[in-house]
């Protein structure tokens, strides 16, 4: 395959970053914006061409006998630690990568376009586009990574672009602290990922150079994924605290994914990250970066399968997170926070789905890897409708100048486009056919029921909660009671300009039809096509639950009524706890500020200044003290000198004599 397009995919956004980052200050904002959007359009074309070529060309590089192949377009050495541990930078083309290329470039383009309207009056417009380009570059580099280390490199880069974009309004202390929090929490998770990579690569590099794991790179996905048993064998049965070393390595690597994908207990940064501009939330914190954890697990799926304990871990973490986030989302006021927790919940859904995709036949039916396909499908659909919801929220915030639903209400009359697109998004995420979310969620639930009925029931409840809280904010924003302030002239909210509405309409259209894509034909865990068919009872259950939840939301929130506040008063503790996100932030604040900063850091700094430095100063003081004492011998009194001299001479003489005797 020609490598021009893959190189362009990485080069265009990076070049944009440099051009807009260095030269942007001197550019008029219109120029900078149009350069950004045009370049992104070119990028979109490249990505679509590559993905299209991969899926439909039928080239034997990509598909052999109906089985999709993984293909390294290029893979060049970047840094060689040892003969075996070589870091390459490359471009791996396979189904999930091609799918991600489509998702990233689409959402990125939508966001670029949308920002043209949304960010029009913000200072630093050029900088904003530069950062978007940097993010796009890093995210594309992450998904095309040929090896875990390349992924780690771009993993860090998306972290920093996320930091820069969350802190875009850098004059606001809240934005600065949110960006710091996001970076440090994900960095903390990345530490575990790094240790995981260290462990994994250490054992792989220990294998014989001519074995199946030989060759230059112990990081390579293709090599590791095609020989998971050899990798397991390379650890020679080494165990640590009851688990095999490989299990630990894979769990540690997954912890990195937990950080990026905001799984419990590392989720605390994502709600705060909503301080960033809303289009950024749509791009990074809903559609692309936060699914990096899911992508990581999918990318390493054969390796996770070889150590099923790690998949169980993923499932448990995902299930707890999904439920937790769904409950919290029911009690948030800030609409972006609701969407953030909804994102956490949905990503956790994908995680559970991946965790349940373990290749295991049940009752004779081979559901191998259904969860994998379903998780990826949901990743795809979720990216579309969640970006839609965020961009819709952005349009609302743009109109109302507030993030809280208490300042909204009854907006459907004023903002019809936003209303309808938002409704489509809500229906999609609630899992109502024929919108896209229904199909992907149904497949996921099927996979979970197949794995274990507990996961199925648990996640069905989460799905019900999802439908409830989404329609809760939908009603509170668009129905409920009209905010009296709208009556005043000049405050009348209205639909956003076309740059913002167009992406909403496109994404809404995609959300309507994406469910009919035969996704199983394109992405499965082993490349063989899988024909999606609806499991009747699963679909029935989930639709019933969703409809019931929507009905409950309608009863409670469609019109202004005292029911919600009654419920709130009925369970004040629960509501407060959920509203405060079960006090996770407070716990973290306590641990970081009181224990780490106040305890460890201050203690060490004190120790350094007083004990270590004090010792040095004390040495100097002792020397000084002694010299002051000795100084008085040098009195300038010659007679005293003679006396001392004589005494010394006498002593020496006496000693000599005694020795001679």
């Amino acid at each position: 395959m020609d490598i021009t397009l893959p190189i362009l995919i990485l080069a265009i956004p990076f070049a944009m970053f440099l051009i807009l980052g260095i030269g942007g200050v001197k550019m008029p904002r219109k120029l900078a914006g149009s350069i950004g959007i045009l370049a992104n359009g070119a990028l979109l074309a490249c990505c679509y061409t590559v993905a299209f070529t991969y899926f439909f060309s039928g080239d034997p590089l990509f598909i052999i006998d109906g089985v999709r192949q993984q293909y390294q377009v290029f893979d060049v050495t970047w840094l060689a630690f040892t003969d075996r541990l070589v870091v390459n930078i490359g471009f791996l083309l396979d189904p999930i990568c091609a799918m991600m290329l489509v998702v990233i470039s689409t959402i990125s383009f939508m966001v670029h376009l949308y920002s043209w309207g949304y960010m029009e009056h913000e200072p630093g417009f050029q900088r904003y586009y530069a950062f978007l380009a940097l993010f796009t570059f890093s995210m594309l580099g992450l998904v095309v990574a040929t090896n875990i280390f390349q992924m780690y490199i771009f993993w860090e880069l998306v972290g920093v672009s996320s930091f820069l974009l969350i802190g875009f309004f850098y004059k606001l202390p809240s934005a600065v602290s949110a960006s710091k929090k996001a970076f440090i929490v994900t960095r903390f998770a990345d530490l575990f990922m790094l240790i995981g990579i260290l462990v994994l690569s250490y054992y792989v590099a220990q294998t014989p150079a001519d074995g199946p794991l030989g060759g230059a790179s112990a990081f390579n996905f293709l090599m590791l994924n095609s020989h998971p048993t050899n990798v397991l064998a390379s650890t020679l049965g080494a165990t640590f605290m009851g688990g095999s070393v490989l299990t630990w390595a894979m769990i540690l690597i997954f912890v990195g994914g937990m950080g990026k994908s905001a799984m419990l207990p590392l989720h605390i940064w994502l709600p705060d990250a909503m301080e960033g501009p809303t289009p950024v939330s749509a791009l990074i914190h809903a559609a692309t970066m936060v699914v990096a954890g899911v992508y990581l697990v999918a990318r390493f799926f054969p390796m996770y399968c070889i150590v099923p304990d790690s998949l169980t871990f993923i499932t448990v973490v995902g299930a707890i997170t999904a439920f937790y986030a769904a409950v919290v989302a029911c009690a948030q006021i800030d609409i972006k926070r609701v969407l953030a927790f909804s994102t956490i919940s949905q990503i956790a859904f994908m995680m559970v789905s991946l965790g349940c995709a373990y290749d295991q036949p049940i009752e004779g039916v081979h559901y191998s890897g259904l969860g994998y396909m379903a998780g990826m499908f949901h990743l795809f659909t979720h990216a579309m409708f969640k970006a839609l919801l965020f961009l819709g929220a952005g349009a609302l915030i743009h109109a109302v100048h507030s993030n809280d639903y208490t300042k909204m209400g009854g907006l459907r009359k004023y903002m019809p486009i936003t209303h309808w697109t938002f409704l489509i998004g809500c229906l999609a995420i609630a899992g109502i056919p024929p919108f896209s979310g229904f199909f992907s969620k149904d497949e996921m639930l099927t996979a979970m029921y197949n794995r274990d009925i507990i996961w199925g029931v648990w996640m069905t409840i989460v799905a019900g909660l999802t439908a409830f809280y989404m329609f809760r904010i939908y009603y509170l924003i668009f129905w409920w009671e009209e905010n009296p302030e709208y009556k005043h002239d000049g405050h009348k909210p209205h639909d956003a300009p076309w740059q913002m509405s167009l992406p909403l309409i496109i994404l809404a259209a995609v959300s309507c039809v994406a469910g009919f894509i035969p996704f199983g034909e394109f992405v499965t865990f082993n490349g063989e096509p899988y024909h999606i068919h609806l499991e009747g009872w699963v679909a029935g259950t989930s639709i019933t639950v969703a409809v019931l939840a929507i009905a409950l939301a309608t009863v409670m929130y469609a019109k202004k009524n005292p029911l919600p506040s009654k419920m709130r008063q009925a369970m004040p503790g629960l509501w407060m706890a959920a509203h405060k996100r079960f006090y996770w932030d407070e716990i973290y604040m306590f641990v970081t500020h009181k224990i780490i900063f106040g305890g460890i850091c201050r203690a060490i700094a004190w120790f350094d200044r007083h004990i270590i430095d004090g010792t040095m100063d004390a040495l100097a003081a002792v020397t000084n003290f002694c010299s002051v004492k000795i100084k008085s011998f040098q009195s300038g009194n010659v007679q005293a000198y003679v006396a001392w001299y004589l005494l010394g001479a006498l002593l020496l003489g006496a000693i000599t004599w005694i020795c001679l005797l």
Binding site: Q634, S635, G636, N637, V638, Q639, V642, A643, L646
Partner: protein, 103 residues
């Protein structure tokens, strides 16, 4: 009865110790110088005596004494010049009054 080397060394020792005593206890700078001359002479005498008894064939001890005498003369001259200066400055020649240049 022979005049042995020891015989000459004993007065020399007493001279030296008298000089030491004088140097430590006297207050007057000229007295200090006198004590110094005593000690120097004791040392000179020793040089000569050792030269005579131990190395009668050579004359290094004597030559050394000659130099010592010359240098003692120079030293005394300068010292007395300084003492007179001190006297001019403070009105007496006590060593306790010449402490301004200490440190």
């Amino acid at each position: 009865m022979d005049l042995e080397m020891l015989w000459y060394l004993v007065p020399s020792v007493i001279m030296f110790c008298a000089g030491v005593f004088g140097f430590i206890t006297r207050k007057n700078t000229i007295a200090l110088l006198l004590s110094l001359e005593l000690m120097l002479n004791a040392a000179d005498l020793n040089f000569v005596v050792f030269n005579r008894y131990l190395f009668p064939g050579s004359m290094e001890g004597m030559v050394f004494t000659l130099f010592a005498i010359a240098i003692a003369a120079a030293e005394t001259a300068i010292a007395i010049a300084i003492i007179i200066n001190i006297y001019r400055a403070v009105g007496n020649s006590d060593i306790t009054s010449a402490q301004k240049m200490k440190f």
